[in-house]
């Protein structure tokens, strides 16, 4: 964390619990996952995992006691020209460190990813939302359903979604 400005400079470092620094976290993740891309993002360490290794990787960072990412803060989908990315913001309640995990679907036509709802139950509903708005199918999901919209809609958060009535384009 070289950025000294802003409100985040005084973050969890003052905690009593011995937290791993971001550098140590990056080092441990790189050595454990040689083919994944690990880097320091704007604020948090980021790791990009291949979609077929996602579930095993997530299982590992939750059960590994030195990482222990037990709190899935946020799961969001982002549409890019050739793939759809799912971003997981994870925090460890014991070590207080934070990690951003990203994974890309193989294509935009039939995007499929493994669910992580068996690891963090809250993911079940975040994934429902992503399925509803971006159209990613999550395999092994217990009850995948459209959360907000009905079946007549397409996937509004995709960049090629056009709707003359409801969406203003600029």
């Amino acid at each position: 964390m070289s950025r000294s400005i802003g409100n985040k400079a005084t973050s969890a470092q003052s905690e009593n619990i011995q937290a791993m620094t971001n550098e140590q976290l990056i080092e441990q993740l790189t050595s454990a996952n040689p083919d994944a891309v690990v880097k320091q993002g704007n604020q948090y360490p980021e790791i990009t995992v291949a979609h077929d290794k996602l579930h095993a990787f997530m299982q590992n960072i939750k059960s590994n006691s030195s990482l222990a990412f037990d709190y899935l803060v946020c799961e969001s989908g982002v549409d890019y020209p050739t793939y759809i990315q799912v971003v997981y913001h994870l925090e460890s309640t014991t070590h207080k460190h934070f990690l951003v995990v990203k994974t890309n679907t193989e294509n935009r036509e039939t995007p499929v990813l493994d669910t992580v709802s068996d690891i963090w139950p809250t993911a079940e509903f975040h994934e429902d939302e992503i399925f509803d708005l971006l159209g990613i199918t999550f395999t092994n999901h217990p009850h995948l359903r459209r959360l907000f919209l009905d079946e007549t809609w397409g996937f509004p958060l995709r960049k090629d979604f056009h709707d003359d009535i409801h969406v203003v384009e600029r």
């Binding site: 802003g6 139950p121 509004p156």
Partner: protein
């Protein structure tokens, strides 16, 4: 409806004695348009499936066509009872991305507004949940005393509910000359009111019987389901963003993060009541020490964020609110995701309401403090 029932029957076996009842979308105890499809046997709840989206307004999609100062205006339409915290989250995210340091005065003003907003929100929560459980008097007490806070907001920024007071770089205008005086008068008055509320409901034996031991959420489940805010803290999950990732003026002040152990409805109630005292404590530490200076820094006419991704967390009255901005360097964001606390909190309801009576489901929902636009976005 027929299709929904058919789907449930086919996907989830329904026994002979069980039947399905829709609670909502128009029901006073859902506090908005939320539909709970409940599977009942007699009055015992066997399954609750929340159906949302009745007021889904596509705010995340709308932001993709708006500039950053405009996005701030949309955020207070989500959790309208935590309007200022939502505004602040976007402002902090933009300021952090542009590496703008706001004046100390702004930090103090924002934090005081945060806590006043939290008090206003908890006020509406306690009186409305009293009403849910059949104590109508509470509703009038709560709304009467909440007016004082809204008047303070109105005096300074002209709005009572959707404040829009925070803008990237600071606040829209300086505080009203009477601001400190009015806040101090309010604190003095409110300190006398809080014990009155406890007398009315917290110490009431009927109320205690309705809530004690009802709808227990364990600490492990709170973490696994991402339940934050007073609801998560009542289960012992230490998740206060103000404490763990302090922003604005929170690093300068001393306050306790209240933690519960039981995780039942009564503990969730008690915790918010204690949090109101803590909010008063925070305001008291800041109100006399607001530093002199500018109320905003000059920002560019068109704000463009550098390419990259930015995440900002704040503590609203309901829990952890997150803003995730993906920027491609233009004046509009590429993608914005709002992590709303109510969304994660709501979906534990099936987990904890199973096996309780239908009246207990109302008690559980009342102490969860749900705001539906916050969930639907």
């Amino acid at each position: 409806m027929a299709e929904i029932i058919e789907k449930i029957i086919t996907t989830d076996e329904i026994k002979t004695d069980e039947y399905l009842v829709n609670i909502g979308p128009q029901h006073p105890s859902t506090h908005g348009v939320l539909r709970l499809l409940t599977k009942l046997e007699g009055e015992i709840v066997h399954n609750v499936e929340p159906h949302i989206g009745y007021i889904h307004s596509g705010i995340e999609k709308m932001t993709e066509a708006l500039s950053y100062p405009q996005i701030v205006h949309l955020t207070d339409r989500m959790d309208y009872l935590s309007a200022h915290m939502n505004n602040e989250a976007v402002c902090l995210c933009v300021e952090d991305a542009l590496q703008v340091e706001v004046p100390e005065r702004v930090k103090y003003i924002r934090t005081i507004f945060d806590e006043l907003q939290r008090l206003a929100s908890h006020q509406l929560w306690w009186c409305a949940s009293g009403m849910d459980l059949g104590a109508l008097t509470a509703f009038f007490y709560g709304l009467r005393d909440r007016e004082d806070i809204l008047d303070i907001f109105e005096e300074t920024c002209g709005a009572r509910l959707t404040l829009n007071y925070s803008v990237p770089g600071g606040v829209m205008f300086d505080i009203h000359p009477n601001f400190q005086k009015s806040v101090k008068a309010f604190i003095k008055k409110f300190k006398k009111k809080l014990p009155e509320y406890d007398k009315l409901l917290t110490d009431n034996i009927i109320f205690q019987n309705r809530t004690k031991g009802v709808g227990i959420l364990s600490k492990e489940d709170a973490i696994a389901y991402g339940v934050t805010g007073p609801t998560g803290r009542a289960s012992g999950f230490s998740c206060d963003v103000r404490k763990h990732h302090p922003y604005s003026a929170y690093p300068y002040i001393k306050f306790d993060e209240k933690l519960g152990t039981d995780g039942d409805s009564f503990m969730r109630w008690k915790l918010r009541m204690l949090e109101m005292w803590e909010s008063l404590n925070i305001i008291e530490q800041l109100i006399d020490n607001i530093p002199e200076g500018d109320y905003a820094v000059k920002m560019k006419g068109v704000i463009k964020l550098p390419e990259g991704e930015f995440y900002q967390r704040v503590e609203t009255a309901r829990g952890e609110f997150g803003v995730y901005i993906v920027s491609d360097g233009k004046k509009n964001p590429y993608r914005v995701k709002f992590r709303s606390p109510g969304f994660s909190n709501l979906f534990t309801i099936n987990h904890i309401a199973k096996g309780w009576k239908i009246a207990d489901l109302v008690a559980i929902m009342a102490t969860f403090d749900l705001v539906i636009p916050d969930i639907d976005r």
